[in-house]
């Protein structure tokens, strides 16, 4: 019964989301596209950051490589968008494997910093490449069809989520969680930790890159500052952590909620919107470090004591 109800709720939500471009005004559709992209990025981050426990600050690199890969394949090699998109995704996944080999040997802070450094280095290199249009950027063929991009972004989010759902129930997914809980113990249990981590990194990169590719074609003009935007890392991490990293639907909930609130705020007082982001991060991490998903499960039992218990658990 419960399962049936859940399935029904999911199907209804999905149907409503699909219907948006036909009923909602253009601004809502545009807001929808960027929210769906951010949700995809949050989901991608959740694979490496949530399930595997490796706090990556390098998601923007994959997003940017995806959008540049797609753009270059379309402009210089005249490939159709669908194939170019896959090319972009593969470029990012291959890059993730190559970079992951050395970088995923690092743990904790060191991994976080190395990825943060990558997020600075890669755009600097791209802005010196002739094929990528240097600092000036690239212009893609113009397609004015927001509904199409909306459905593409939605399809990508669904594909990402289904993949994560599948991973979370697979041997691979349990391996990743074992690495998160105790990497040495996981290795002792016979998990090939290096291979698992690199695979997780590459899968995360692939989905983030597809989001970047769709974004490039939608926005039609890309430059290093916009596509490798370092604040994207922050957004995807906050959305995933706020929603509940390592849960299938948590990061989506986080992305929808935070994008919605920040959109409403920025339409009222624009300078307060990003300030709000900062405050939400601090408050959310202090009061509900396990995300909305955990809050949802345990708040009903504990009430307000839920927050004080979280604090008691972690304070000095």
């Amino acid at each position: 019964m419960n399962l049936l109800f859940r399935g029904f709720a999911l199907a209804t939500t999905l149907a409503l989301l699909i219907a948006v471009p036909w009923v909602a005004p253009a601004t809502v559709v545009q807001f929808g596209i960027s929210t769906l992209m951010l949700a995809t990025l949050a989901q991608g981050w959740s694979i490496i950051g949530g399930y595997t426990g490796y706090a990556s600050f390098g998601g923007s690199v994959f997003y940017g490589l995806g959008s540049y890969g797609t753009a270059i394949a379309m402009i210089h090699y005249h490939l159709p968008f669908g194939i170019a998109l896959i090319v972009g995704g593969l470029v990012a996944a291959i890059f993730a494997v190559l970079v992951g080999l050395p970088v995923l040997r690092l743990r904790g802070h060191y991994f976080a910093i190395a990825t943060l450094a990558l997020a600075q280095v890669v755009p600097a290199i791209v802005s010196n490449l002739d094929i990528a249009g240097r600092n000036i950027g690239l212009i893609l063929p113009l397609v004015k069809n927001d509904a199409l991009f909306y459905e593409a972004a939605l399809g990508l989010l669904v594909a990402t989520t289904v993949s994560i759902w599948y991973i979370s129930r697979s041997r691979f997914g349990f391996g990743l969680m074992a690495i998160r809980e105790n990497e040495d113990a996981a290795a002792a249990m016979g998990i090939n930790t290096t291979r698992y981590k690199i695979q997780a990194f590459a899968i995360a990169a692939f989905f983030s890159a597809l989001a970047g590719g769709i974004h490039a074609y939608w926005i039609t003009f890309i430059d290093p500052g916009g596509e490798f935007d370092i604040s994207l890392n922050v957004k995807m991490i906050i959305m995933a952590v706020f929603g509940g990293p390592g849960s299938v639907l948590g990061p989506i909930a986080g992305a929808f909620l935070l994008s919605g609130i920040s959109e409403i705020l920025s339409s009222k007082i624009s300078s307060v919107a990003s300030l709000f982001f900062g405050v939400v991060i601090v408050v959310a991490v202090v009061l509900m470090p396990h995300g909305i998903a955990d809050l949802w499960r345990r708040y009903r039992k504990l009430g307000l004591r839920y927050f004080s218990e979280n604090i008691r658990e972690n304070r000095v």
């Binding site: 706090a55 910093i113 290199i125 990003s274 900062g278 991490v285 604090i311 000095v316």
Partner: protein
């Protein structure tokens, strides 16, 4: 040859300031195991304290140094005491996120109150310089270099000799033992974070003398400070001096031979290489 010597001199002088920038980050990291992503924002605030004291009351930046340090100490102490202490035992990622939240809040508040305009601090000696073996050495830079090294040495002696400094080192080495000897942990944590912020404030004050400031310089300064900590290693304050000067020279050389757009590639490329091949830093002991 003169050009190379000039570039090396620039790099070394910049390195003294870099060392001071990274020192507070290294202190907080080593003692509290918090990588403070708001460190650059603290530096930015220190620079604004200096800027407003200079612009409104004509206070010399080197005289304003204690004011910037005290203001940032109070801010750091408060943030650690009332926010970070609540989550200090959570997984490291949570402290990373919270300090990131601080950075966002501080940068946006700074933009609201100070505006996004670039500011410069121009004391009377801003253009003064002298020649040393053919290289031009700006007076302001040599003063920031000396102050940076002086404060680094000061912190070293403080940690080594002072009672409070010993309590901080004891907490870093063994929390339980320190508590048993009567160290008040919450207070020591807040003092340490406050000291880190005060050093950032001092670095900001000096940064304002040699460079332009705006509310958004924090992010890249945090990243630079990281790079310096990693390159030098966290074991002793000498590490950040070596790391700072090393990074200063690398940046100057890259700007000369490859072009200014490659300075970030070079410094972060070195960071990644050091992380992968020598994670304990250039000075660190290999086990």
């Amino acid at each position: 040859m003169v050009l190379l010597w000039q570039v090396l001199a620039n790099g070394i002088l910049l390195g003294g300031l870099y060392a001071l920038m990274a020192l507070g980050l290294a202190l907080v990291w080593g003692v509290l195991n918090i990588v403070n992503l708001a460190h650059g924002a603290f530096i930015m605030l220190g620079a604004y304290v200096c800027y407003y004291l200079f612009a409104l009351y004509h206070v010399d930046p080197f005289v304003a140094l204690p004011a910037a340090m005290i203001a940032l100490f109070v801010l750091g102490y408060t943030l650690q005491r009332f926010v970070l202490n609540l989550i200090i035992r959570a997984p490291m990622f949570n402290t990373l996120l919270v300090t990131f939240g601080f950075e966002v809040v501080l940068a946006n508040l700074a933009q609201m109150f100070f505006s996004a305009d670039y500011r410069t601090i121009n004391p009377g000696y801003a253009g003064a310089n002298f020649a040393l073996f053919g290289a031009t050495i700006p007076v302001a830079r040599i003063l920031t270099f000396a102050t940076g090294l002086l404060l680094t040495a000061g912190l070293w002696f403080f940690l080594l000799k002072a009672r409070l400094g010993r309590a901080i080192r004891a907490t870093a080495q063994n929390l339980t033992a320190a508590r048993l000897y009567g160290v008040e942990t919450r207070h020591i944590y807040a003092i340490t974070f406050g000291l880190g912020a005060a050093l950032a404030g001092a670095a900001g004050d000096l940064y304002g003398v040699v460079s332009q400031i705006n509310p958004y310089i924090g992010g890249s300064l945090t990243a630079k400070s990281f790079a310096i900590c990693i390159i030098g290693g966290l074991q002793n304050p000498l590490g950040v001096v070596v790391g700072g000067i090393f990074l200063g020279i690398v940046e100057s050389l890259t700007a000369l031979y490859l072009g200014p757009t490659y300075t970030d590639v070079a410094s972060f490329g070195i960071l990644v290489l050091v992380l992968v091949f020598r994670p304990t830093g250039l000075l660190g002991r290999t086990t």
